[in-house]
């Protein structure tokens, strides 16, 4: 498929041309950083704003989703109206990998999450290669390369005054069909951008060794050792591209109401609290263990994928500098010395 050229001056117009028939989610400026959000008419995506604050999962798996409405004790019948299809525009590679991880949970298994599936199937995804890593990024440790990205329909690669738009699927090809072919000069600039990115990569974290070290572990004194200052605030799980746990609640006003699902966090004590008062996970160490093992052992075994893409957001938002990269290193060491002893 031919690489196309999207000039920076023409991004707004290009996005606008897609907008009437699509809902567009793209990074936008947000209090000194950027966040993915639904693009309002004529707005310019912030493609140079660095890593968005939260992951892109929200577009496919909103923080709060209505499952159905009810009135006076009966579920309201609903007719299914087709939604305008979605375009996720400018998604970072770590978030693309995150979508792959969500797919394995929400689209597969004995049951399918119809909400996620409907959004997912209607979505076209345009990736965006990063010019450089943020200090907390470590996607490279997971073999993720923004210049050879996880599944998406088009990948945008920076090329000076433009982006080279590489279609990767037929859907993607159709999306960028109106753009001119990329010229040799821009292709060369794009290649250089890739080289520059790779030359300045952050040091890698030894993820494989860690996955091996935690493969069969549960009980270990090592967990107490890594709790450090974690206050179980859960901020890390809300910004994470792969965290997918949710709560289900009924919201009512008078006789009307809706059942919604909303993101939840395994860092909260109430997450596993039985009505009887019994709680299988009472200590911060137990909850941290759940968060780590879910990502690096349970998902690996159940879904054959890791629940971490190295996006580094949890490191950036943690109020007490609990750093998963550091925890991976320390745990690998402690668990492998423990198993040798």
């Amino acid at each position: 498929m031919n690489p196309k050229l999207l000039r920076k001056t023409e991004i707004a117009a290009f996005v606008q041309s897609l907008a009437p028939s699509h809902t567009i989610v793209a990074p936008q400026p947000d209090e000194g950083q950027c966040s993915y959000g639904v693009l309002s008419n004529g707005a310019q995506p912030a493609l140079d704003g660095g890593r968005p604050r939260k992951s892109a999962k929200e577009a496919l798996y909103p923080q709060k989703e209505r499952m159905f409405a009810f009135e006076a004790g009966a579920v309201e019948p609903c007719s299914v109206e087709p939604e305008p299809p979605l375009i996720l525009f400018g998604v970072r590679a770590c978030d693309l990998k995150g979508i792959e991880a969500l797919d394995t949970v929400l689209l597969h298994g004995a049951f399918v999450d119809a909400f996620y599936k409907a959004r997912r199937e209607a979505a076209a995804i345009v990736g965006l290669a990063c010019e450089k890593m943020c200090p907390t990024c470590f996607c490279n440790s997971f073999g993720i390369d923004p210049y050879a990205p996880p599944a998406c329909d088009v990948n945008l690669v920076p090329a000076g005054d433009a982006f080279v738009a590489q279609p990767l699927t037929e859907k993607g090809e159709a999306l960028v069909a109106s753009l001119p072919d990329a010229d040799a000069a821009h292709l060369a600039t794009a290649r250089k951008a890739g080289e520059a990115f790779h030359a300045a990569e952050n040091p890698k974290v030894a993820v494989d060794a860690f996955v091996e070290a935690v493969a069969e572990v549960f009980e270990s004194p090592a967990w107490e050792g890594i709790v450090d200052g974690c206050i179980n605030c859960g901020g890390c799980t809300y910004v994470c591209p792969t965290c997918h746990c949710f709560d289900i609640v009924d919201e009512t006003i008078g006789h009307r109401g809706q059942r919604v699902r909303a993101w939840d966090t395994c860092m909260a004590a109430r997450f596993t609290l039985h009505t009887s008062g019994h709680n299988p996970r009472v200590t911060p160490a137990q909850r941290l263990r759940q968060r780590i093992l879910h990502k690096f052992q349970y998902m690996k075994k159940n879904q054959s994928i890791l629940g971490c893409t190295g996006c580094g957001r949890c490191v950036a938002v943690c109020p007490v500098n609990w750093d998963i990269r550091d925890a991976i290193g320390r745990l690998t060491e402690e668990l492998s010395t423990a198993s040798k002893a």
């Binding site: 936008q28 299914v80 298994g109 949710f246 039985h274």
Partner: protein, 292 residues
């Protein structure tokens, strides 16, 4: 920036979270404390009735719109022409269910979860050990086995059941029937009986009764469910009787929301109680983290 996505509508038959309406056909208070009730329900829609096929061991998500959902074992046997739930009042949803009367409607979705491993039980002696509301999930299997078409597939059936007090013994008329049957060895006990009760039976804890009855582990499977403290003493008791971990079956509880393996709440290690359970053998549990 908070992202507000357009509301997605999914038709009920495609929506795994949409409940099917049922009506309470019959309601009975099961415990003297009035905190446990038996709900016999029928589907409001014929297609739901046809679609809903359960096996002993499975559960359903019961919902009262405006209050939420709670996972409840299906206590009736598939050999019976109706569906029953035995529900103890605990919190918001179970209270809301208790506020309903005969003829009222609520919602259910399911059946969910795995089933009691019946194939491995065929031709064997069966020992049930239950405490309190723990009899609810076992009752489905007991009545399945006692059904004339199935009874011959199983050898001796022993039931050991206990509750806190005589008033807490559930399914009383059924207990009396089991006690009368010649092909069932039924034993019952209560922790304590108030002086004014006319209870004539045994006083003592379930694990003690198990020791006394001492069912043989020869060609036998034990199925147990009850409060954690009971299970804690029943398991060593069964071990002492020679039951191998593969032949001890139990059913677990974890806080649940989705019931379909998505919400990430009910896991014990890599196993999700809502889809990989709630039924596990002790051999399986021994390979799982003790986090439940």
């Amino acid at each position: 920036m908070t992202m507000t996505m357009p509301v997605m509508k999914i038709a009920s038959d495609m929506n795994p979270y949409a409940p099917m309406p049922v009506r309470i056909a019959e309601l009975s208070v099961e415990s003297a404390a009035r905190d446990t009730r038996l709900f016999k329900v029928e589907f409001l829609k014929e297609e739901d009735r046809v679609r809903f096929r359960h096996e002993p061991g499975q559960f359903a998500q019961l919902s009262v719109l405006g209050y939420g959902e709670a996972p409840i074992s299906i206590t009736s046997s598939p050999t019976q022409p109706y569906i029953e739930f035995c529900i103890k009042r605990m919190g918001e949803v179970t209270q809301a269910l208790h506020n309903l009367g005969e003829g009222d409607a609520f919602g259910i979705r399911g059946p969910y979860g795995n089933t009691f491993p019946r194939a491995m039980m065929e031709g064997k002696n069966i020992v049930f050990v239950a405490g309190g509301i723990g009899l609810a999930p076992l009752r489905s299997l007991i009545n399945f086995m006692l059904h004339p078409t199935n009874r011959a597939s199983f050898a001796n059936i022993t039931i050991i059941y206990g509750a806190r007090s005589p008033g807490d013994l559930l399914f009383k008329s059924e207990l009396a029937e089991w006690a009368k049957r010649v092909d069932v060895r039924y034993h019952e006990t209560v922790d304590a009986a108030p002086p004014d009760s006319n209870y004539q039976g045994k006083i003592g804890f379930v694990p003690t009764l198990l020791d006394e009855v001492a069912p043989s582990s020869e060609n036998a499977v034990a199925i147990t469910c009850g409060p954690p403290i009971m299970i804690k003493y029943v398991l060593p008791g069964l071990d002492k009787l020679g039951f191998a971990p593969e032949n001890i079956v139990t059913t677990l509880e974890m806080r649940m929301k989705c019931g379909i393996g998505k919400c990430g709440r009910c896991n014990i290690g890599r196993h999700y109680v809502c889809i990989d359970g709630p039924v596990f053998t002790l051999a399986e549990l021994k390979n799982m983290p003790a986090e439940f």
